[in-house]
Subunit: 340 residues, 2 copies
């Protein structure tokens, strides 16, 4: 198994990316193909104690980098030799099994769609992070790739998310819920009402384990395994979770720093608090899979450190081994309102 | 100042509502007018140690109650003598200064709109809870009254929320942000893009202190004082906050219950934890104001206890005294794309 890694993407590139690649090779038993400036990568390798390119690692030299200010829809036309674009081309051409990048989300999504291409019949690729819930986790699909959605997109996301929860997270008959502002059929906008009908039909036909509308509060309490929503609402949910996590962290910090006694208390519960924090730490959670692309693409957090890249490589291997892309291809006929 | 209280609305009616009314009278120096079944209210009063109707309290007898299963849009046509409907009629007729109900949100909103009526020129009333942020609080408008919105509705919500933050929360030049999935102008759906242009214009003309698009995470970190959004996304934000709060509560409970040492630690930080929890407790936060209605209407949480009703009465008094309705009427010409 070989994983392509965009060595120049992310706030901490290339050093932390290269470090993460070295960790990932050992940790997951994979080969890696780094795209990026060879000199910079070799320098990073030297900083990690490697004077030569290690066995199982390969470098493909590129001269350009996708910057955060680049227009995602145009960057690959204007910059032909970016670490991200070349990586996605190598992935499309079957030179490796998956790709990991911590670069611009918008550019990676555009590149995955334009270069690596969607699975035939899939209208839009979706971003599907795995979020923590009370006592478990859930796939949130979409979380921001598609601000405007049609009922057909959401129906497809339900299948994609369900396959991901089944194949990658290992859940049997994942419970699929439609994010809404109430449980009743009349709730939400036309988008939710029309999607509800499509998903209910898919549930009745036995293609999905659809449990109906679900409120954000119930979803976070673990009420379903797949949270289906448009990218706008999904992003609000995800970013609110992050915001409240940071809010609670600050509040707890203030509580524990108050005096000597509370500092002592902090020491007593530190292991538990660390484990709780880790659950919400993007570096530990791994990356976000782009589902619906014809090859596995994993977006690592922009601020990824070596540990995050290591985790994203593990996730990329898992997606590549899961057979999810074959499963989507076999079932794509169920997910279309009209033929292509 | 007299506040109408729907004595039959909410999970704990009438006992907790009557208790809360008694607390509120003392606490806020207001008179109260209870609508509901006289016998049931008198029984509740006796349970609170009052054999007669206390001075400053008045009861208007009603024979029906709005149930959670009633269709909000039809209930007031079919049930002419509900505690909620009669209360809203008395409010419209100027018999009191504000109304508090813990009954069905949908029915209260429909009743406020159909019976008490919107302020002339306001397209839709909005629900505007005050949410905790890191180190402060913010008005979230709308949080679920209007799932489908137009740019004009959102522009109006921006003014309504800004006036609320100014008059009721006492903030000078409240910072108004448009909830979006990124800070850049190109982010979001057509709704956000068109609203952004309207709000930017209002900001340039000096009518609003508009700070642009804001992500959910930044909003919760305290990046603005008024979070403007459609009712669908606003509800997702609010319910996600509640869900993560409950999630964190469970996780902390598990951490502190682990062993004797951690239980000791819990005792040491208990005052701080209680204060933190209170910040997120709907009974302490008070109710949600319906803004855009011609008279002050406060929705208390369905599970309100006496303390929550007491807080909602305080909030009702504050809104009634604030002059916000006059301010909206004076400025409504700024908030219209087309004349009525």
């Amino acid at each position: 198994m070989k994983i392509i890694i965009d060595a120049m993407g992310g706030d901490n590139a290339p050093l932390e990316i290269v470090k993460g690649a070295l960790l990932g090779m050992e940790h997951w038993g994979v080969e890696v193909l780094l795209t990026g400036d060879t000199e910079a990568i070799l320098r990073a390798l030297r900083d990690c104690g490697h004077d030569t390119i290690p066995r199982g690692m390969e470098i493909v030299h590129t001269t350009e980098t996708v910057e955060m200010c680049d227009d995602p829809s145009k960057v690959f036309r204007h910059k032909k030799d970016t670490s991200m674009g070349v990586g996605l081309t190598l992935l499309r051409d079957g030179k490796a099994d998956a790709l990991v990048s911590a670069g611009s989300t918008g550019a990676l999504l555009a590149g995955a769609t334009l270069i690596t291409k969607r699975i035939r019949g899939i209208r839009r690729a979706a971003m599907a992070p795995v979020i923590p819930t009370t006592g478990g986790k859930a796939v949130l699909i979409d979380c921001g790739a598609n601000a405007e959605c049609t009922p057909e997109y959401l129906m497809q996301f339900a299948y994609l998310g369900s396959f991901y929860a089944g194949r990658v997270l290992g859940l049997e008959r994942p419970r699929v819920g439609l994010l809404n502002i109430g449980a009743e059929d009349s709730k939400g906008t036309d988008l939710q009402k029309q999607t509800l009908a499509l998903l209910r039909k898919a549930g009745e036909e036995g293609h999905l384990n659809f449990i109906g509308n679900i409120e954000a509060k119930e979803a976070i309490k673990g009420g379903c395994d797949v949270i289906v929503t448009d990218g706008f609402s999904g992003n609000i949910l995800l970013k609110t979770m992050e915001g409240v996590g940071s809010f609670a962290g600050h509040a707890l910090g203030d509580i524990f720093r108050k005096n000597l006694l509370t500092k002592l208390a902090a020491a007593m519960v530190m292991p538990g608090l660390r484990a709780f924090k880790a659950q919400l730490d993007p570096n530990k959670v791994g990356g976000t899979a782009f589902i619906g692309i014809s090859r596995p693409v994993i977006k690592a957090h922009g601020s990824s450190n070596a540990e995050a890249i290591d985790n994203a490589i593990g996730q990329a291997r898992q997606v590549a081994e899961s057979g999810i892309i074959g499963q989507i291809q076999e079932n794509v006929h169920l997910m279309q309102l009209q033929a292509e």
